[in-house]
Symmetry: C2
Subunit: 293 residues, 2 copies
């Protein structure tokens, strides 16, 4: 996977630079900007921006707009983590091996830093200079649906519901299509919008994104069992301890691994329908299912 490794080594610092600069240049109280940046800097795999860029790359387009839209989507993802870690939600003290936002800045500022990171991405897209107004409106509409009640937030509500009762497999799929899948789908589809892809190509990439989203979550569930707290940078074994509805809980660990393979192959099959070489997107799919954190 030399190709992907080089791509990540090259692009991750650029994504972070653009993203932190977008926060740095807003006119806002220093402590708020600090709290926002703290969680944005906290690392993570930057999977979502990498998908935006990989799609642009697939279509042979300049990456510049991808850093901006990738930053926007990483901000949405980061706000959801800040709120998810709050005592009233998952009550996590550590995330990616660092103290969570509210452990450093207190709950009030953490709530507000999350709120600000929810709002800012829409302004960032609206202010982009190298897009038509129509492209911006399309991206904003897709992001609002993916991030809000109809996507990620709705999925989180279903997920909380699943902590108090055993979900069916269909319900579990519905949780993850929304909770994790919607924002990954936006990442992939926004790359297609930026690249001016055809409707057919967009549909193929949505299919790819569907499988990627589920594979991502199934892998997370498996890592919660097979990974270590040290590797993950968050407490391993939490799902089992809390009797949460997960793929391994519903299907056994082997059953979950089979499902993971099905969605991995589904993602590759979708890519096979694209006219041009899709090595990078294939490698990203492989990375998602083979990662150990």
């Amino acid at each position: 996977m030399t190709n992907l490794k080089e791509f990540m080594a090259l692009e991750m610092p650029k994504i972070e630079e653009v993203m932190l600069d977008l926060v740095e240049k807003i006119q806002a109280p220093a402590i708020l900007k600090e709290a926002m940046s703290y969680s944005l800097k906290a690392g993570g795999k930057r999977v979502r921006p990498l998908f935006v860029l990989a799609v642009l790359d697939h279509f042979g387009k300049n990456h510049a707009n991808g850093y901006v839209v990738g930053s926007a989507v990483e901000m949405i993802h980061t706000y959801s983590l800040i709120h998810d870690d709050l005592p009233s939600m998952d009550n996590d003290d550590y995330r990616r091996g660092k103290l969570t936002n509210h452990k450093v800045y207190g709950e009030a500022y953490a709530t507000l830093a999350g709120d600000a990171l929810n709002t800012l991405p829409f302004g960032i897209i609206a202010r982009m200079t190298d897009l038509t107004a129509e492209q911006k409106v399309t991206l904003i509409e897709l992001l609002s649906v993916a991030a809000g009640a109809e996507g990620m937030v709705g999925g989180q509500v279903l997920d909380i519901d699943g902590e108090t009762r055993q979900l069916t497999l269909d319900e579990l799929v519905n949780v993850h299509v929304n909770k994790t899948g919607a924002i990954l789908r936006f990442s992939i589809e926004s790359g297609a919008v930026l690249a001016g892809a055809s409707d057919e190509e967009r549909a193929i990439l949505r299919d790819y994104a569907y499988h990627i989203g589920l594979a991502f979550q199934i892998k997370d569930d498996i890592l919660d069992i097979e990974g270590t707290t040290e590797e993950l940078g968050k407490t391993a074994g939490k799902d089992v301890a809390s009797d949460k509805s997960t793929y391994p809980a519903l299907l056994t660990l082997d059953g979950a691994k089979e499902k993971l393979d099905i969605h991995y192959k589904g993602a590759l099959t979708a890519l096979g329908k694209l006219p041009s070489d899709s090595t990078l997107l294939e490698e990203l799919a492989t990375y998602i299912v083979k990662r150990n954190k």
Copy 2:
């Protein structure tokens, strides 16, 4: 104020109908939609949508787009109240005489309902059918700035800062220009964008909005002292009890009333510069400074 009374009686039910319909028709978990609607239905003065409509009315434009943009801005306002009422923030059990969102739905769902109401407005504006893409992008950019770190959320951070130390008058003005003022300014300016007002008219209305925003907050501070818990639908006397930086605390009650009058007159002076009759906008200014809740 017959004119304004009739206007409010006519428009408030329409705003509520459009707003609740915009939530009702999204595809999301029923409990999430219920929690979102609960706080949207909790009443309030609907001042922000009324300003959108009053500006459209001033320019003789159809109100249809105003209901949608007014709903968007009321959603942002409502999300901020839901988060503000959380135990980690103001810890309020009642708002407008009704139980606060987290007292009914729990803190996790209240946080998520607020998040969803922060995200949805951008999608609502992006989906409007009767605007150019350029108008939508302008509205979305203005709303993102007004609602986020550079506006309302930034103001809330400054406001929390003011609970632990005595602010200067300049700092207090800065809190309120952002915390309350930014969203009121958006309400007024968005009406101008929808109406296709000239740059000069927009600048006059921004000046009007500046004075309205400060008058609104000073009046709130005065009502916290002079109003009753029953009238206000929230606990009166909280600011004094918590030794909060307010206009009366910095300027005495009489000094605060003088400031209120200055901004009231400032708002009317701005309106005097508009070419056509601005009775409704004048009456709204009067309503802001004379209200008893």
